[in-house]
Amino acid sequence: MKKSVFLGALTVAGLAAGAAAAATLDDVKARGTLNCGVSTGLAGFSAPNANGEWEGFDVAVCRAVATAVLGDPNAVEFVPTTGKTRFTALASGEIDMLARNTTWTLSRDADLKFTFIGVNYYDGQGFITPKALGVSSAKELDGATVCIQTGTTTELNLADFFRVNNISYEPVPIETNAEAQQQYLAGACDVYTTDASGLAATRATFETPTDHVILPEIISKEPLGPLVRHGDSEWGDVVRWSLNAMIAAEELGVTSANVEEMSSSTTDNPEINRLLGTEGNLGEMLGLEADWAKNIIMQVGNYGEVFEANIGESTPIGLARGLNAQWTDGGLLYAPPFR
């Protein structure tokens, strides 16, 4: 009797499991919303504003995917995650994709079984320090106290950098960016290290930004990108090409202002036509509507527009395009052809 009940329970569990393992794309369509993991608050990348709406550069990627799949940039359920919870949330299916300035590394790809579908921001780890200390290079930081935000690759890079240069330091791990800033400003640490984009954003909020310098060393490569689970390539393709559509649109000069006009009739450029769905059946191949990319550009914007609106030079974050310029402008952004 015991055994049969036990087996019965197992069968029920097995059935439930079998029924639930459907493709993510179908799940999202059936649900009508995209569950997108973001950070709990990083100005410019993902943070809720005073009205409770999520805003930022990573948030825009979520909105782009939601637009491609569901046609509505607001059909996103933003799930705030910490450095600790983000991977489990993705692995367990709580979120469909993660756009939380996550660095693409081999072990995350192979060991944690995630697929990075591309890079939406090329970053690197840097240092900020008060001008009064008179430090001009990170190699002069022997014996310094360094504030770091925990739960990122930052800790590992930092340990490697100081080890390679054979200088000592005292790490002060801090949980949130806001608290790290407070510690740094109060002088509890000499240096604050995080991704260079974060440093610029942080410096912008200081009372007197000019009292602080960002040191020239960038000690790591931090390609930040959205990621999905292993084992569902169709879904991975949808997310990958949503991002690529934003990048390609900027390269091709398609903006939210002119996309309506460009898609109303076939243009001279066949690649634009294919992107906007007026020619070919690229959308169908992905399992999406023909005008998926047009919707993204119209409702979210192309890469350049999103960049300028959230973290560009006109915002308080004030980041230059740098590595994140199109390849035609000497940057690293290079969308594969829409063909």
Binding site: M1, V5, F6, R108, A144, T145, E155, L156, A186, D190
Partner: protein, 404 residues
């Protein structure tokens, strides 16, 4: 449970499994066992399926790999090339350090506040009440964060000690209070220092021996020898004599501002201080209530009886009330120690690298081994709790023997 004095006369029926008290308890236990097995089977099956689906496995091999991160407070040698296991041990030790310091401080605070709450001074009584109520009724996480911010905001950074006319200066030239922590002198043990320490330990034993002797003398002959100054004499004079005879074998390594930080001496880090104080003050408020309840629980007749014997109020407290109160106070206080140890897991809020910060924090993040890390984390706290409970049970058993 079941009694077989009256064997079943009629034939066995299925309904007897539920209705007959002889079989009912067995039925219930079998049902419970089935449900338990089914639940465990269900969870285990899900775990296996999930892991297979994600292509992961359960393995503790990650503990042997290099951790790759640095820890600021290292009771044992550790660097970023050490293994995750070693990082875990560092975390365990750091947890134990803060728990130990916190328990001692909380006891002192709690006893003082508990006794003062019964003081006949109105202001002190009310102040202690404010302290106890304010800390008991606000979450400890908020207190940890507030005290951490107070520390950082109120104390000067090391740079304030720099320059010809610094804003801050060191206390006695030996103690530096900065918002990175407190720097105190560290003794340097030179050859011969062992003798000094040995003499000091011998003096401590001597003090106890002397006090026992005076007590016995008092009980036997009624002769009261002075205790205060001879104790101090025994404690310090021989040690100091040996210290100077051997040519001062113990010297102090004083902290001094070099480069970015104070170097030398011992640094008690800001995160440790914040966590330590927050836990101690918070738990102290609870201990104060236990102490007060314990003192009030001692029957009034005891105090009156002591007073009628002509004892002074201080002696009534020391000789009559406190020994009796202690028996009531100690069990709840030990469970407060347990709470303090468990609350020390909030260290991550201030970046103190305890076990939750190393194993449950960075190691978990970097390796993604959630199940294994959380399991080890729980096992550690469980071991601590169970051993403290065991100690408490032994104590309770001993105390109960002394009751009437």
């Amino acid at each position: 449970m079941t009694t077989y004095s009256d064997p079943p006369s009629e034939s066995f029926q299925l309904s007897m499994l539920v209705n007959d008290t002889r079989y009912r308890s067995i039925t219930f236990q079998v049902v419970a066992l089935i449900l338990l097995a089914a639940a465990i089977g269900f969870l285990g099956w899900n775990l296996m399926r999930n892991l297979a689906l994600l292509g992961q496995d359960i393995s503790f091999e990650f503990l042997g790999e290099p951790s790759g991160y640095d820890i600021n407070q290292r009771p044992i040698p550790y660097d970023s090339q050490s293994s995750h296991l070693r990082a875990t041990f560092v975390g365990v030790l750091n947890t134990l350090i803060v728990a130990f310091l916190g328990c001692i401080t909380a006891t002192i605070l709690g006893v003082v506040a508990g006794v003062l709450r019964l003081s006949n001074n109105w202001i002190i009584r009310k102040l202690m009440m404010v302290y106890v109520e304010a800390f008991r009724n606000v979450p400890v996480l908020i207190w940890i964060l507030i005290i951490f911010f107070v520390m950082t905001a109120a104390l000067p950074p090391p740079s304030a000690f720099r320059g010809d006319d610094p804003d801050s200066s060191m206390l006695f030239g030996a103690f530096a209070f900065t918002n990175r922590g407190i720097y105190i002198p560290r003794p340097i043990w030179e050859p011969g220092s062992a003798i000094v320490v040995g003499v000091f330990i011998a003096s401590v034993i001597g003090v106890f021996a002397y006090r026992r002797y005076t007590t016995r003398l008092l009980y036997d002959t009624g002769k009261l020898l002075p205790r205060g100054w001879p104790s101090l004499l025994i404690l310090f004079v021989p040690t100091l004599l040996v210290f100077f005879i051997l040519g001062q074998p113990i010297s102090l390594d004083l902290p001094a501002l070099r480069g970015f930080n104070f170097q030398g001496g011992t640094q008690i880090r800001g995160s440790l201080i914040a966590l330590w104080f927050a836990l101690a003050i918070y738990t102290g408020a609870f201990i104060a209530e236990n102490v007060r309840a314990g003192i009030q629980a001692v029957s009034h007749g005891q105090t009156e009886a002591a007073a009628s014997l002509g004892l002074r109020p201080g002696r009534i407290m020391n000789l009559v009330v406190l020994p009796q109160a202690l028996r009531i106070v100690i069990p709840p206080v030990i469970s407060q120690y347990l709470n303090l140890t468990k609350n020390s897991s909030l260290a991550i809020a201030v970046g103190y690298m305890d076990l939750t910060g190393t194993l449950g924090g960075i190691t978990l993040n970097q390796t993604g081994r959630a199940i294994e890390s959380v399991l080890l984390l729980m096992l550690f706290y469980l071991t601590i709790s169970l051993s403290i409970s065991a100690v408490m049970n032994v104590y309770n058993a001993r105390m109960q023997l002394k009751e009437r």
